[in-house]
C-alpha cells in the first residue's frame, strides 16, 4: 500500500478533495502545516519592526491507497487540481505503508481502506 502526502496551497483544498472523491478515493486526512521553500514569505509589521514570515500556510493531505494504480490516479489528480503554475504550488511525496487497520472493525490491509 502507498501513502501519498501532498503539501498544497490552502485555497486549493476544496477543489482537490472534490476531484479525489469523484475519482473514488474515499478517505483522507488533512492537517495545517507551514511550508518553507522557494516561495517567498511575506513581511509582517510590528510597531515599525518588520519581520519576515518565511513559513507560508499550507495544507497537507495524506491518503493511503491500496494499489499503485490508485496512487497514480491520486497523484495525477492532485497534480492537476492543485496546480496554479506559480511558485509554491507544493509537492507530493509517496512512500510505502506496510499495514493498515480499521479501528471500528479490526479489518486489516487493503480491506481497511
Amino acid at each position: 500500500m502507498r501513502k501519498i502526502e501532498a503539501v498544497i496551497k490552502p485555497f486549493k483544498l476544496e477543489e482537490v478533495k472534490e476531484a479525489l472523491v469523484e475519482a473514488g478515493i474515499e478517505g483522507m486526512t488533512i492537517s495545517e502545516v507551514k511550508g518553507y521553500g522557494r516561495q517567498q514569505g511575506h513581511t509582517e509589521l510590528y510597531r515599525g519592526a518588520e519581520y519576515v514570515v518565511e513559513f507560508i500556510p499550507k495544507v497537507k493531505i495524506e491518503i493511503v491507497v491500496s494499489s499503485e494504480e490508485f496512487a497514480t490516479t491520486a497523484i495525477n489528480i492532485i497534480k492537476e487540481t492543485a496546480h496554479t503554475g506559480k511558485i509554491g504550488d507544493g509537492k507530493i511525496f509517496v512512500s510505502e505503508i506496510s499495514n493498515v487497520v480499521r479501528i471500528r472493525t479490526g479489518e486489516e490491509d487493503t480491506e481497511a481502506l
Binding site: 485555497f11 476544496e14 511575506h42 513581511t43 509582517e44 509589521l45 518588520e50
Partner: protein, 442 residues
C-alpha cells in the same frame, strides 16, 4: 433635531425642570456627555467587533481597520467642514434647503461656552460627530474583503462632505431645511444614519464587485463570539444614540430608552425563533443580527411611539432584516458581505415608514408635521399625511445617497487607481497584504 426639540421643549408641559433658555442644566449636560461617549463606543468597539467577527479570519483586522479608520477620519472631517455644512445656517434660502453653509468651518465662531439649549454646543458638536462617523462606518460592512484601504479612506472623507452632511442638514437642519420644513419624523437617524449608511454600502458593494468565490466557497466567520459582543456593545451604546437624541435627561429620553429596549429584545427573540422554525437551528449570529435589526428599526421611532408600537416595530424589523439577509441577497446576488444594506437600510426604512402609524398621538412628543398639526387643530390624526412626508423623506434621502455615493466612489477609485485590490492580495487576505498583520498568533 436640535432646534425642533427646543421648540418642543418650550411648547410642552413636560414634567421637566423648566428653565429659561440658554441656561446650562447639569443633568442634561451630564446625559449628553454620556450619550456622546456611548455613541463613540458603538463604532471602534461595537461595530468593529460586530463586523470583524463575521469576516473570514484573514480579513478580520482589515475590517476592524476600516471601521476604526473610518471613525477617526470621519470625525476629523466633521469638525473641519461637516458640522458647518450640516448644522450651520446659510443666508440663501435655496442653499439652506440642502446645506448649512461654510460659516462654521473648523468650528469657527462657536465659543467654548456657547449653549445648545441647556447644554454646551461643543457637546452637541461631538455628539453629532459620532453620528457622522458611524454612518459611513456602517457602509464598510458591505465591501469588506476586497476594497483597497486607500480607496476606502478617500470614500470616507468625501462621503462625509457630499452625502452625510447634506442629508443631515435636510432632515435635522432646522428652519429652511428641506425635509425639516416638510415635517419628517426621524427621531434618532433612521433615514439620516441607517438607510443612508446601508444604501451607501450596497452601492459600493455593487461598484466594487463581489468577493472571489462568494457563492461557491464557505466563508466562515472568524468568531461569532466577537460579533455577539459587538452587538451587545452596540445595544449599550445605542442608549446614547436614541435616548441621547432627546437632547436632555427628560421624559422623552425615558420613553426612547424603554422603547429601544423593548424593540431590541423582541427583535432578537424574533430572529432566533424564525431561524429555529426555518433551519431548526437558532444561531447566536441570528440573535445578534436580530438585536441590531431591532435597534435600527426603532431608531427613527424611539421617542414617538409607545410600548405596543415598540413591540411591533421591533418584531417586524427583525422579520424584514431576516428577509433582507437571507432572501433578497440570494435573489439579487449582490455581495452585501456583512449585510449593511440587508439590516441597516431595510430595517431603517421600515422604522421610518412605520413611525406615523405607531406614534403616540400627543403634541408633547410629536415634532412639527402633518400629524402634530392635525392633532393640535383638533382634527382626526393625519397619519396618512405624515406617512407621505415620511415617504418623501425616504425617497429624497435614498436618491441623494445613491447618486452621491456613486460620485464619491468614482472619484475615490480614480484617485487610487481602481478601488479593488488585486486577486492575489484578496486570496492571501487583506490583513496580510494591506496591513502586514495577522488577527491572531497562537
Amino acid at each position: 433635531m436640535k432646534n425642533k426639540f427646543l421648540t418642543l421643549l418650550t411648547l410642552l408641559a413636560l414634567p421637566v425642570l423648566t428653565f429659561a433658555e440658554d441656561k446650562l442644566d447639569s443633568g442634561d449636560t451630564a446625559w449628553m456627555m454620556v450619550s456622546t461617549a456611548f455613541v463613540l463606543l458603538m463604532t471602534p468597539a461595537g461595530l468593529a467587533l460586530f463586523y470583524s467577527g463575521m469576516t473570514r479570519s484573514k480579513n478580520a483586522l482589515n475590517t476592524f481597520s476600516m471601521v476604526m479608520g473610518a471613525f477617526v477620519l470621519a470625525f476629523v472631517v466633521w469638525i473641519v467642514v461637516g458640522y458647518s455644512l450640516a448644522f450651520g445656517t446659510s443666508g440663501t434660502a435655496s442653499i439652506q434647503n440642502f446645506i448649512g453653509g461654510f460659516g462654521n468651518i473648523m468650528l469657527n465662531d462657536i465659543k467654548w461656552d456657547a449653549l445648545s439649549g441647556t447644554y454646551p454646543t461643543y457637546v452637541f458638536i461631538a455628539f453629532q460627530g459620532t453620528f457622522a462617523a458611524i454612518t459611513v462606518a456602517i457602509a464598510s460592512g458591505s465591501v469588506i474583503g476586497r476594497m483597497k484601504f486607500s480607496t476606502w479612506m478617500i470614500v470616507v472623507a468625501l462621503w462625509g462632505i457630499l452625502v452625510y452632511a447634506p442629508i443631515t442638514h435636510m432632515v435635522w437642519g432646522g428652519d429652511g431645511a428641506l425635509l425639516f420644513d416638510a415635517g419628517a419624523l426621524d427621531f434618532a437617524g433612521g433615514t439620516v444614519v441607517h438607510m443612508n449608511g446601508g444604501l451607501a454600502g450596497l452601492v459600493l458593494a455593487i461598484l466594487v464587485g463581489k468577493r472571489i468565490g462568494v457563492n461557491t466557497t464557505a466563508m466562515k466567520p472568524f468568531s461569532i463570539l466577537l460579533t455577539a459582543v459587538g452587538a451587545a456593545l452596540l445595544w449599550f451604546g445605542w442608549y446614547g444614540f436614541n435616548a441621547g437624541s432627546a437632547f436632555g435627561a427628560n421624559a422623552v429620553a425615558g420613553l426612547a430608552l424603554l422603547t429601544t429596549t423593548i424593540a431590541t429584545a423582541a427583535a432578537g427573540l424574533t430572529w432566533m425563533l424564525i431561524e429555529w422554525l426555518v433551519y431548526k437551528k437558532p444561531t447566536l449570529l441570528g440573535v445578534a443580527s436580530g438585536i441590531v435589526a431591532g435597534l435600527v428599526a426603532i431608531t427613527p421611532a424611539a421617542g414617538f411611539v409607545g410600548v405596543s408600537g415598540a413591540f411591533v416595530i421591533g418584531i417586524v424589523g427583525s422579520v424584514i432584516g431576516f428577509f433582507g439577509v437571507v432572501k433578497l441577497k440570494a435573489i439579487f446576488k449582490y455581495d452585501d458581505s456583512l449585510d449593511a444594506f440587508g439590516i441597516h437600510f431595510l430595517a431603517g426604512l421600515w422604522g421610518a415608514l412605520a413611525t406615523p402609524f405607531f406614534a403616540l398621538q400627543n403634541t408633547d412628543t410629536l415634532w412639527d408635521g402633518p400629524l402634530k398639526e392635525s392633532i393640535t387643530n383638533g382634527q382626526a390624526p393625519d397619519v396618512m399625511g405624515q406617512f407621505m412626508v415620511q415617504l418623501e423623506s425616504v425617497l429624497i434621502v435614498g436618491a441623494w445617497t445613491l447618486v452621491g455615493t456613486v460620485i464619491v466612489y468614482f472619484i475615490a477609485s480614480a484617485l487610487t487607481g481602481g478601488g479593488r485590490v488585486d486577486t492575489e492580495s484578496e486570496e492571501i487576505g487583506l490583513d496580510e497584504s494591506i496591513h502586514g498583520e495577522r488577527g491572531i498568533n497562537l
